[in-house]
């Protein structure tokens, strides 16, 4: 049997090899992330059926929990690790042609570390390890945001660094508090001992951890770094940051709140916070003229929606939230990849500069359109079943409050549709002055985009392909006792 | 009997319509202290015009006039003129409302083929004026149809024969008064002579007509008068049991309409519409509300 440890060990090892390979051939270095992600993808998918039956708990060093370092590979972990690997694979393919200038070898190393960090966060069963992997993820993303080396990138990176570091510090304090309270760092062990979050020390620990992780998870008002960072980073990195990094942050928040703290009493607060994040993200995106900033704000909105769905905490809504994570990763990463080359060709980030792209870059524009349709939630694309699930589960709950809230969510969707469709119109139907020759994105980039397109359409038409995984993921998140039981035995 | 009316109705309409045209000229002359032409003058004019040469601007120019006159004759077939109407089961008053507009529409289409500004202005005025009087007119007609619970003219006449005539019964008296107030506008006589204003826009839609065209248009004008008046007699004054009484009733209504004609100067089209949308509409509206709330 394959151990989930390989999901971390192999890419980490390969990440360290990248500089060596880079000495031999700079071009070859770009293929290392491809191989590593492919490996992770295959392993994750192979492990999925096993995990669906029973989660795998791997102990590093042979110490039984709660003493050793534990990896917990449940359905959620495997789903997200497969998603990270998939996005990582496609984006690294894209990067083969997109990342041409600058310190490319370092880019690939950092990129792989980012993936390792993200995979680690979703697989770990240990609070301190969570912090460690989280730091790997964050630090490599600080560096990658500044990759281009222009003023905007460095400024954004520094801002991101300051806020991220503050978040990490808060997270560390929270973890320290937990350790002081319970004398253990194993998630299941802490979870087993927490009676309630009513007591002030536990609540303070939770608040610190939620706020610390929330910075990365782009929860309002902790998300101020995001628009700058996502819009200044190279597009391949924006894709990963938007598609993976913030979702991993959100996963960590949810894992802590649901599993470790079992804090069902704060969930309503999270519902409102999610809704607020959603509305503010969409409204800000509506007022944007810079395409990448618009996408970044839209990511904030999507995070709000996912959080909203997860915090309702019924099987249906958590399934919907996880589904929305999948659909957001695919769609938003696709959008950033497509926009990457559009912006590259037009030389400007202004939405108005995308006029006539439908003619200049027909395939890229097509991929962009699919991404938009999916993100807005139109059938037959993946965003439709995911939004459908969220709305369905929210409406299935009794009570006027939730019905009003879902009305607001739908309103936010309208705003989202409005600003995205405006871009579609600009890309296709605005008349441009001088007719420029057709010059589409390079084949490798197109291939990577169309991998996403294929997933978006196929899952959009056959959502049942992944609903099993999502549902068992939902029950994993919701049923604490099972989690504790499977780790501690 | 019904077959006979198919022939008789149009002939009667033609005769009475021309008679009204002659009478109106005579009437006018007497009010203005003139002798005036003989009563059969319109007939002579028409016969003369048929022998005169004229110009044509195209096929639609011919067809429009024919359509206009033919449709007026069809409307006549819907009217019980002191007997049963030939076309009694073909849509009733609702069809009449529609067919009544084909007359002016035919003239409008015909005139449209000529590039004459006077025609365009005349048509525009005609349509505006029609919107003006249709507001009270529709209210009147709806009050009647609602009151009697039918859309058939024959049944409205029959119902009045059983009780009092509509203009003499309580809620419908308003409708009757309103109808009298808009009658001059429907007949297109002064003060509502904005459409065919001879001195201002060279008779408007008829500006291009001469010879047979003018003859047909004149007949159509006569029929319009006939229809407007006979509708009043049928709907509000209980119709008649034989054509002679019907004719006499029409004569009375005609006289009223022309008294107004002679006594007032011509209005501008906006003034006309304003007038029509003020008093007649108000009265017709009161009638309609009373009918809708009190009922029969």
């Amino acid at each position: 049997m394959v151990s989930p440890v390989l999901l971390l060990a192999v890419p980490l090892g390969l990440a360290l090899c990248v500089p060596l390979v880079g000495r031999v051939s700079r071009r070859a270095a770009g293929f290392v992330p491809v191989i590593a992600s492919l490996f992770n993808l295959v392993v994750s998918i192979r492990l999925l059926p096993t995990v669906l039956e029973e989660p795998i708990v791997a102990n590093l060093g042979g110490f039984p929990p709660p003493f050793g370092i534990t990896l917990f590979a449940g359905p959620v972990g495997m789903l997200l690790s497969a998603l990270i690997a998939l996005a990582g694979l496609v984006v690294s393919l894209y990067a083969l042609s997109y990342i041409k200038t600058g310190p490319t070898v370092r880019y690939h190393t950092l990129y792989m570390l980012l993936l390792v960090g993200a995979t680690g966060v979703v697989l770990t069963g240990d609070v301190f390890n969570l912090f460690v992997f989280f730091e790997i993820l964050c630090i490599s993303s600080y560096a990658l945001v500044a990759y281009v080396g222009d003023r905007a990138g460095i400024e954004a990176s520094v801002k991101y660094l300051i806020q991220g570091a503050l978040g990490s510090a808060l997270l560390l304090i929270g973890i320290g508090l937990l350790y002081g309270l319970f004398g253990t760092l194993n998630m299941a062990d802490i979870a087993a001992r927490i009676d309630s979050v009513d007591s002030v020390p536990v609540f303070v620990a939770m608040a610190l951890i939620v706020v610390g992780l929330g910075v990365e998870a782009a929860i309002f008002p902790l998300n101020a770094w995001l628009p700058d960072a996502h819009s200044s980073a190279p597009s391949s990195i924006s894709a990963i940051l938007s598609g993976i990094a913030i979702q991993v942050g959100l996963y960590a928040v949810v894992r802590m709140v649901f599993t470790v703290f079992g804090a069902s009493s704060v969930l309503l607060f999270f519902v409102f916070l999610g809704l607020l994040t959603l509305l503010i993200g969409e409204l800000c995106a509506f007022a944007q003229n810079n395409i990448k900033r618009m996408l970044a704000y839209s990511s904030i909105g999507q995070m709000g929606l996912i959080m909203f769905a997860l915090a309702i905490a019924t099987t249906g809504s958590v399934t919907g939230g996880l589904f929305q994570m999948v659909s957001h990763t695919l769609s938003k990463a696709l959008l950033f990849l497509a926009v990457g080359y559009m912006v590259y060709r037009s030389g400007s980030l202004e939405i108005s500069s995308l006029e006539g792209m439908g003619r200049r870059m027909p395939l890229t524009s097509f991929a962009f359109t699919i991404g938009v349709f999916s993100l807005v939630g139109l059938p037959p694309f993946i965003g439709f079943p995911s939004k459908l699930l969220i709305v369905r589960s929210a409406l299935a709950e009794q009570g006027v409050l939730l019905q009003v809230l879902i009305g607001l969510v739908l309103l936010a969707t309208v705003i989202e549709g409005a600003y995205f469709f405006r871009v579609i119109q600009t890309v296709y139907f605005k008349k441009e002055e001088g007719q420029e020759a057709r010059q589409d994105a390079p084949p490798m980039a197109l291939l990577s985009m169309f991998v996403f397109v294929a997933f978006i359409v196929v899952i959009g038409v056959y959502p049942n392909l992944i609903t099993d995984v999502l549902e068992s993921g939902a029950s994993e998140l919701l049923e604490r006792a099972n989690y504790i039981g499977s780790v501690l035995g | 009997m019904r077959i006979l009316w198919f022939v008789l109705s149009p002939l009667m309409a033609l005769a009475v319509g021309l008679f009204f045209l002659g009478l109106s000229r005579r009437f006018m002359a007497r009010i203005q202290w003139r002798v005036g032409p003989p009563l059969y003058q319109p007939l002579i004019d028409i016969l003369r015009q048929f022998t005169q040469k004229s110009v044509s601007h195209g096929p639609l120019f011919d067809l429009g006039v024919v359509l206009s006159l033919a449709s007026s004759f069809i409307v006549v077939l819907f009217m019980p003129l002191g007997g049963t109407a030939p076309l009694s089961s073909s849509g009733g008053l609702l069809a009449v409302l529609y067919l009544m507009l084909l007359g002016p529409l035919g003239i409008a289409l015909s005139g449209g083929e000529a590039a004459n500004p006077n025609v365009s202005i005349g048509i525009s005025r005609k349509l505006i004026l029609a919107v003006g009087y249709e507001v009270p007119f529709l209210m009147i007609v709806l009050a009647l149809m609602t009151y009697y619970g039918t859309i058939s003219i024959g049944e409205i006449v029959a119902a009045q024969r059983e009780s009092a005539s509509a203009i003499a019964s309580f809620p419908l008296v308003f409708s009757g008064i309103a109808y009298l107030l808009i009658l001059p506008a429907m007949l297109g006589v002064r003060p509502f002579e904005v459409v065919g204003a001879a001195q201002e826009i060279s008779s408007g839609p008829a500006a291009e007509y001469g010879g047979p065209y003018l003859a047909l248009a004149t007949i159509q004008h006569g029929l319009t008068m006939f229809i407007g008046i006979s509708l009043f007699v049928n709907l509000l004054w209980g119709g008649a049991s034989n054509p002679v009484v019907f004719f006499l009733k029409m004569l009375v209504v005609f006289a009223f309409g022309f008294w107004v004609n002679a006594a007032f100067p011509r209005l501008r089209v906006e003034q006309a519409v304003r007038y029509l949308w003020r008093w007649p509409t108000l009265i017709a509206f009161v009638g309609l509300i009373l009918v809708a709330t009190i009922g029969r």
Binding site: I162, L170, D198, V204, V211, P221, A224, P227, C284, L388, V391, R392, L395, L410, T413, V414, A418, F421, R422, I424, Y428, F429, K430 | F50, Q52, S54, V55, S56, L60, D62, V66, A70, F73, I74, L87, S89, S90, G91, Y98, L105, G112, A115, S120, S124, R125, I128, V131, L142, T146, G149, T150, I151, S152, E155, A207, P212, L216, E270, V273, A292
Partner: protein, 618 residues
Amino acid sequence: MSLGLLLIVAFGGSLLTYLLGKVSARTRDAFAVLISLALVVMVASLYGKAFRVPFYGGFLGMPLVLRIDGLSWLFAIAASVLGCLSVVFSLGYMKGKERTSFYYSMLLLVIAAMLGVVLSGDLLSLFIFWEIMSWSTFLLISYNGGPALAAGMKYFVMSFVGSLAMLAGVLTLHGSFGTLEFTGVAAGMSSASPGYVLAILVLFGVAFGTKNAIWPFHAWLPPAHSEAPSPFSAVLSGILIKMGVYGFLLLMFVIVGLRTFLSLGVGRIEFHTVLSIIGAITILLPTFIAIFQNDAKRLLAWSTVAQAGYIILGISFGTSLSVAGGMFHFLNHAVFKALLFMVVGAVEYRTNGVRDLDSLGGLIKRMPVTFIVAVIGVCGLIGVPLTNGFVSKWLIYKTLILERSPFLAFAALFGTWGTILYSYKFLHNIFLGQLPQRYEDMERAPFTMLLPMTILSVVVVLFGVLPGIPLAVIDTIGVSFGFESLHVTPWGIASDTGALNTVNMLVAALVGLVVVWCVFRSGARSVSVGQADSYAAGAAVPRDKYQYSVRFYAPLRRMMAPYLKDFVDSFYMRLAGWVRGLGDGLRRIYTGYVGDYVMYILVFLAVLIFVQIAWSPW
């Protein structure tokens, strides 16, 4: 004939058309015509059938079903025939335009989605096809660029609001009854509380009302219809917005049920009366706005809103006559409005895109056939006897009068007089009056344009003379809703309270015309002269210096203009402005100064902890 195959042909045809366009334009054109024709044949072969087929096991646990019955057949045949004619019309219209493959493919996609909507057997597939229809329509409306972009945006936003309301409705129903198939939902609805039914009706009503453009959801329609490519405007106005009518019929009479629908209300205010009044408003206001439009397509677009009012008035009034009238009027409007949009399309094609009513004129001399079909279409629109519009409007008027609703009847009848005004303006300013010199050498409309227009105009007259043909189909649908039968005869309706007999009228009209024509011909012959050779009371009429049709209804406009503001539209526009302003304001939270951001984080943390310590709400 299986329904699945039908949809596969429809959707596959759309995709293949695009791909073929990359190979050869001629093949693509032929293929598009072929596919649309095949759809007509396939739908026609389904006449009189009624069955259901599941086609998708479970979309997130909700099985998707297709079904056909009388109602869906009626809409399907209208959609496929109009779609086919529109494709044929496009052959000429789109020649030489850019991105034609995209255009044809989207046109076919819209048709396919409409077929999907009417053939859906459950609410989820209805919603899915509805959404596909909405976004493909958006793309086609935006096709022309320029002002079309704003029009498309407005359409999309309003239609999206509607479909999300519908989504909420669909999922609420799913939550309550666990099934979305029409029969299952209908069974559940019969025992639901009135408040619940009302809420569902309102949610769906927003979606259907927006698509059908009833007041106050009409604001998208005038710009969208006028800016879309004309053959697509024909589809849009003719059938696409009628999907809202289909939805209403389905909801009111299949899902909610006639009895429940008529008894629904809050206190003494009945729901269906409110809807009828909305219908009446939808007739009156847009009609009088249409009168003062100077863009031919915008005029027709406002007219579409008004005619949609008749349909809603008819079906929501809820008597057997009115519902039949409403359904018949949907069919008729599809025919004559598509015809009129095609007329404008043909004129646009020959004048290089001119559709300003103030600068056209006299085209009867250059496009006689187009003029004839335009007259027929306009007659249908007005409802002149012996055209189809007369019969459907007659049914509606009659029932309104006999059911003692004279005010609704007044709105309907007065709306017709307004219709006469704008229809005549349309006809006069394009075809009659003086012919500008620049159009003197214009060619006639090409055959591919004349053919669909002629077919439609024949239908206008056919349905007007023999209304029994469509009414028989409509009557069976009405009976399936639970109404009593209408006693349809081939030439109308047999009834005690005023029958309808179109054949009588036809004979009278023919005899009258022949007699008058003979009399007319017996007079002296006339001399044919040119258009400009006209009588002007001694003053020469200068040529090409004046355009007599400019400001055609100026006196009326002076009187009415102040009352004809589309305040609903200005409200929406202001709302959009506010949202943008709100977004702009919120954006300033992100000041760009990192100290502020750090403060946000710390303040948020502090507030959390403070709140917990102070009030311990968690």
